[in-house]
């Protein structure tokens, strides 16, 4: 059996490879998406004060630079038994929406769109953001980067650093805005709305009006029917910073919804010997192996999943695009994974509208950004919708708020199964009779890019908790009196 290895997978955050096995006639027998890194994050968070965790755990990923920070901050609210003040919550949301815009923009322009703008089979050396700038012209390139930069500036102004922010406080936010800063953000918000509209136009002009590309968008080679998980608000609209987690089935039927600590009843992560990344599935259905369609217990998260579980987006311009999205596919849920890219562009607009709304909120310049802390409860769960999907941080602490245990379930981890399915399907579709070249292999890689992989995130791995320790207590006559074990 012949083995083809794509190493490393490129235009993603982190390290992965794809192994494809061909049978004797040169057709694909099987394909594997392997994650080849493992760091060990949660273990060393043990011993840190919980308020130091958001800025530390942020370094799990520098592309989704605001998400681990935000989820851990929400968990720290729980540890101190406190809800953020209204102003703090708005500042957090302003910050978080700015992160969404800059992150979605990077993913689209640097990682996803080069395949379409430069071309899926263009020379490898050109299929990147530099090639994209060359293709659209330096002027447009400069404009896009400049406008995206405004989102980074909002992020930095509120979070303290342009990456790996520091302003989290349980029940609050360490930075308040003055009127001058507010005005500046309002001005930038208009630029971000422009950028989002431009992005949707590029998407429309380059992809949606190109029959060849539409075949990829709507065709079976990039179709992965699984269950979907995402967060919704009380009106069943997409919720990013805070909401209820909802799961729909392959046919779109609502299966479950849960909140906070209940996540443990709905998610299991299967360990596989050939990858450092565990493969989650819906716990109540049980492990069914790596299969799609009816009967699968695998589920996807991220922009497409959020669209599939919700009724719409809470801002007017983006909600119109949401309707167009489903009208174009003519079905819900949409299982075509290229829909991820499109949904991402629509969410960019949604978040830009949110930024403008928050920047105009009369309360946003108030100083009331820190709630008085309650007693340490010793446990907190923070669940958010990261740009890549549902993200769960769970901490236990001692009575001083020093971390004793942590569990982190990451967006890209949820998508591990569906990505493996997508890669297998694309490999089987595009590799025929032993014909393989760089362009064909890039079509296989195009199957993971919609999921916007963050393997750094996914391989934070190492869960802490106590080290296995056995303490034997002997009495003066060396008789074993008591044995204390924590395992």
């Amino acid at each position: 059996m012949k083995k083809i290895e794509i190493n490393p997978m490129t235009r993603l955050e982190g390290h992965g490879k794809i192994a494809i096995f061909l049978d004797d006639s040169g057709n694909v027998d099987e394909a594997f998406f392997q994650v080849v890194e493992f760091r060990g994050f949660e273990k060393f968070l043990v011993g840190l004060p919980i308020e130091e965790v958001p800025r530390t755990v942020s370094t799990i990923c520098g592309v989704c630079r605001g998400v681990h920070f935000t989820a851990a901050m929400k968990a720290s609210d729980g540890v101190y038994g406190v809800q953020p003040t209204r102003v703090a919550r708005k500042l957090r949301e302003l910050f978080f929406n700015a992160h969404y815009v800059e992150d979605h923009a990077v993913i689209l322009y640097a990682l996803g769109l080069p395949d379409f703008v430069v071309g899926p089979s263009a020379p490898a050396a050109e299929r990147n953001v530099v090639g994209l700038i060359n293709a659209v012209g330096a002027e447009i390139g400069r404009e896009v980067l400049k406008k995206r930069g405004y989102a980074v500036k909002i992020f930095e102004m509120l979070g303290g650093k342009p990456n790996h922010p520091v302003a989290a406080i349980p029940g609050g936010w360490s930075k308040t805005l003055n009127e001058m800063e507010r005005e500046q953000i309002e001005g930038w918000a208009h630029e971000l709305i422009d950028l989002s509209k431009l992005t949707l136009k590029v998407f429309g002009d380059v992809i949606l009006s190109n029959p060849g590309y539409m075949e990829l968008v709507t065709g079976d080679m990039y179709k992965v029917p699984v269950n979907y998980m995402g967060s919704v608000d009380e009106n069943n609209m997409v919720a990013l910073y805070d909401g209820t987690q909802k799961v729909v089935g392959v046919g779109g039927e609502e299966l479950y919804s849960y909140n906070g600590m209940e996540y443990i009843d709905y998610i299991s992560e299967r360990v596989l010997p050939w990858t450092y990344l565990k493969m989650p599935y819906l716990k109540k259905m049980g492990w069914k192996d790596i299969i799609d369609g009816d009967g699968t217990s695998l589920y996807s998260v991220g922009p497409l999943a959020r669209f599939n579980v919700a009724d719409g987006l809470s801002t007017p311009l983006a909600n119109e695009e949401f309707k167009t999205f489903f009208k174009t596919f003519g079905t819900k849920p949409v299982h075509n994974i290229m829909g991820y890219h499109w949904a991402r562009a629509i969410e960019m607009l949604h978040c830009s509208e949110n930024i403008l709304k928050l920047a105009r909120d009369p309360e946003i310049t108030s100083d009331d950004a820190r709630a008085p802390l309650g007693e340490v409860t010793g446990e907190g769960v923070g669940i958010i919708e990261a740009p890549r999907g549902t993200l769960i941080h769970h901490y236990n602490t001692d009575d001083q708020g020093i971390v004793t245990d942590a569990n982190i379930v990451v967006a890209t981890t949820h998508n591990k199964g569906p990505i493996n399915l997508a890669v297998r399907k694309a490999a089987k579709h595009f590799i025929k009779d032993g014909n393989v070249d760089d362009g064909i292999l890039n079509h296989v890689e195009m199957a993971f890019r919609p999921y916007d992989l963050c393997l750094g995130c996914a391989t934070h791995a190492v869960k802490p908790g106590s080290s296995p320790v056995e303490i034997n207590i002997y009495d003066s006559s060396k008789e074993l009196k008591q044995s204390l074990k924590n395992f």
Binding site: N7, P8, T10, R11, L12, E13, G14, H15, F21, E30, Q34, V36, E37, R39, G40, F41, E42, K43, G47, L48, P49, E51, E52, T59, C61, A110, R127, I133, A138, G141, R142, L145, V152, L158, G159, G160, K161, P162, N163, S174, K175, I264, I267, S268, R270, V271, P273, T275, Y276, K278, P280, R370, Q400, G401, N407, V409, V462, K463, G465, S467
Partner: protein
């Protein structure tokens, strides 16, 4: 126009935040591309594979940036290859220069890490008790390999010769701009040093009483965590009792954390001449604690001092990695 400088970027055990710091140059990135050519940027940005790098001629890349720490045999292998292909090699960002936050992983051994991750969490399902394997035959016919996990985290300079370091988690985009200018114009410091403005966070901090005319710095009379009370906005955090690593950290960030009323935790790396950041931090902070009561308070507030002072630099320290 002079010939473009050929740049290479390689992500090892990091988070790609360093690479984002280059993207965050925003429109200046387009101007930068007039002076530089991207010869290799993987896995994050360009479709170049490891084979492409291995097949390049030696010294084909003028300046290579490596971000992330060293934890896998594959990291060591790729670092060595990049060293051969690059005339100048830069440890870019605090993980590569000092080990970074992930360097704290060295406080725990491999078995401990694997057991927790792959057996003992509330959401883990591992009926056969298997760990990821360097080599694995799936279904008796699919032969799959994974890079080997090494015992400790190392920094780039412990694996290959490094010409320059750049601190920051990640470096601030304004510092990236300054560093690229230094490279393009050839105005570089002596080999082996950091590319930095050489100032401490305190030197560029508006709260520093020394920077305010007529004020003096006094000893810390108490130690607070950031959840204790609300720090005053314009006053030095150390003077208020909040431990801040500003005195011993490179200030190429412009004292960014202080802008949001939050203390520095040392991601910029040590000031020129300092080998062991954490040891320097302990002795500097220790020397400004007013008396033994305050010292006791520090230990009480931050029970794990090694994870506090070595937040970004444990693998570079002389401290034993596991007691």
């Amino acid at each position: 126009m002079a010939e473009k400088i050929k740049l290479g970027f390689l992500l090892l055990g990091g988070c790609a935040g360093c690479e984002m710091s280059v993207v965050d140059l925003s429109e200046k990135l387009v101007d930068t591309l007039e002076h530089v050519e991207i010869a290799f940027w993987a896995p994050t940005v360009a479709d170049v594979k490891y084979d492409d790098l291995e097949n390049m001629e030696d010294n084909a890349i003028d300046v290579a940036f490596i971000d992330g720490m060293i934890r896998l045999d594959e990291h060591v292998h790729m670092a060595k290859i990049m060293r051969k292909k690059a005339k100048i090699l830069i440890a870019y960002g605090v993980c590569s220069a000092l080990g970074g936050t992930a360097g704290l992983g060295s406080l725990h051994d491999k078995e401990e890490l694997f057991e927790k991750a792959f057996k003992n969490t509330p959401t883990t399902d591992n009926p056969d008790g298997v760990y990821p394997q360097p080599e694995c035959l799936v279904d008796g016919k699919y032969d799959l390999t994974l890079p080997k996990y090494q015992d400790k985290v190392r920094l780039l300079g412990q694996v290959v010769d490094v010409d320059y370091n750049i601190g920051g988690c990640p470096p601030h985009y304004s510092h990236v701009e300054a560093a690229i200018t230094a490279l393009v114009t050839g105005q570089l410091p002596p080999k082996g040093s950091y590319i930095t403005n050489g100032k401490a966070v305190c030197d560029v901090c508006e709260r520093n009483p020394v920077n305010k005319e007529g004020d003096n710095r006094t000893m810390m009379y108490r130690v607070l965590r950031t959840v204790d009370g609300v720090p005053e906005n314009d006053t030095c955090l150390l003077l208020q009792g909040y431990v801040c690593f500003g005195p011993m950290t490179q200030g190429d960030c412009g004292a960014s954390c202080l802008h949001v009323n939050t203390p520095c935790r040392g991601c910029g790396g040590p000031l020129p001449g300092v080998e062991d950041y954490g040891a320097q931090a302990i002795s500097s902070i220790g020397s400004i604690l007013k008396d033994e009561t305050v010292t006791a308070q520090l230990k009480e507030k931050y029970p794990n001092l090694s994870k506090f002072f070595y937040r970004y630099s444990l693998p570079s320290g002389i401290l034993p990695k596991k007691m």
